[in-house]
């Protein structure tokens, strides 16, 4: 819908300065976006270079612009040596990289990516992720659609959780904070009453002792943990490890989906 491939059902959305919905704006929007669909959709009987060059012509790039961008992206993604090989002979990872290059040949302001690392081996997925981060550092707006929450957390500045409808939008930290149930686990060399008293004074929630391990409930570990560590240190405790468990982005996602189903 945002790529103007299908009509909007209701509501409003803007890409750049153009509102989706009209045929006239659709053409303008398509000029300023790049799309990496879930299916790479390459012409398998064309070479890697021909695939890029064809899309360059569809975006009305000049011969010189196409030559420059084709070479730049093929080299950047490690496909230059394979530029004359048919796309049909490429591995999944290479095809995915070529599809990303294809979406970038016209230097779009906004890039839409649908599951760009799905079905890739870990090495190829890492290459693609690093390339996306590189694009991000070039101030491109990237709209990444993924089921991989770890990937979303690593790449995205803002995350929207969708489950038939938009359920939440925010940074990874903001979404994580929306879910209670995170715990800080502290391993000490030795736990004594002074340490327990100092933590009770901090009014930590659900303090549990198991041998030399203490567990407390936290809402915002980044803010609460320094105080906890400081209190233990002041009470003479020797901390071995501090670990935050539970309530990741995945927990936030699962909680929101469950709520939506109810």
């Amino acid at each position: 819908m945002l790529c103007c491939l299908i009509s909007k059902t209701s509501g409003k959305a803007k890409i750049g300065d153009y509102e989706i919905g009209s045929q006239e704006n659709a053409l303008k929007i398509r000029k300023m976006i790049g799309l990496v669909p879930d299916n790479v959709g390459l012409y398998e009987s064309l070479t890697a270079y021909e695939n890029l060059d064809y899309y360059g012509t569809l975006y009305r790039r000049t011969d010189a612009q196409r030559k420059e961008s084709n070479e730049y992206f093929l080299k950047l993604l490690g496909l230059w040596e394979k530029r004359d090989a048919l796309a049909g002979t490429f591995s999944k990872g290479m095809k995915q990289k070529l599809a990303i290059a294809r979406a970038l040949v016209h230097d779009p302001e906004i890039l839409f990516m649908d599951e760009p690392t799905a079905n890739l081996d870990p090495e190829s997925a890492k290459t693609v992720r690093e390339f996306i981060l590189e694009l991000k550092s070039q101030k491109k707006t990237i709209f990444l659609n993924t089921h991989n929450l770890d990937e979303a957390q690593r790449i995205c500045d803002r995350i929207a959780i969708l489950n038939t409808k938009l359920m939440a939008v925010g940074t990874a930290q903001e979404l994580e904070k929306s879910v209670h149930g995170r715990k800080t686990v502290i391993h000490l060399r030795q736990v004594d009453e002074a340490i327990l008293d100092s933590l009770k004074k901090l009014r930590v929630k659900n303090l549990v002792r198991e041998g030399n391990k203490l567990t407390v409930d936290v809402v915002n570990p980044e803010e609460e943990n320094p105080d906890i560590v400081s209190a233990i240190d002041t009470a003479g405790g020797r901390i071995e490890t501090v670990t935050v468990i539970g309530s990741s982005l995945e927990d936030a996602y699962l909680k929101l989906v469950r709520e939506n189903k109810q």
């Binding site: 491939l5 398509r30 669909p37 390459l42 009987s45 064309l46 012509t57 569809l58 294809r102």
Partner: protein, 239 residues
Amino acid sequence: MPWKIARKELKVIRRKKSIMFYTIALPFLLAALFSLVIRNDVASGIPSNLQLGAESILYFFVVLAAVLPSTIAGYSIVGEKIEKTLEPLLATPTTDGEILLGKSLAAFLPPMLSMWAGASTFMAVADYILRNAGLSYYYFPNWNAAVMLLILAPLAAIFSVEAGVLASSRVTDVRGANQIAGLMFVPFMAVFVAGVEGIITLSITTLLIFAGGVAIFDVGLYFVSKGTFRREEILTKWK
């Protein structure tokens, strides 16, 4: 832009050996077959009905012009859908008209060039046979041949291409599109049969009238193709 789309299509077609073989070989096979027919007919001298026989045979190349593009045209849109290349294509700022025209050009050019080459070969061989059989002049080329090959055949090919592209954007599998597009030779075959049976004479006037009718259909089909090309439906409803 349509020419750029056509150029890519031609590259893809060039690498599909079965389509290339069918497109190139058929006109030459027919040229060889029809040359044998002419040779048999003149074995005992120039026949009195030479014009009817030679013109009817040449008209068959018009029928061929309506048959050959169906494979390429039928594959044009549904092929993109099957190979999953349609989504990125439709995400570019290319208009429906440019896509349809580009695809049509690519489906039109190879069959037409191939048909002209086959018809030229046939005319050259037929002239050679007829001259050896005692005809005092070169029978081909003549005005009838010019109207058939330079006016009617291209219009027939356009008719087939447009019907093929239209079918390709309305059906969900290549075979269905090819079958529908393949039917477009029927009106041209009907004229061929009518000519052979003597119901009509394949004179310049008859051929021009028929060409005029085909041209009207060609224009109409273009607008129908453009008006019924539903990007969204193709993307969302075809599986």
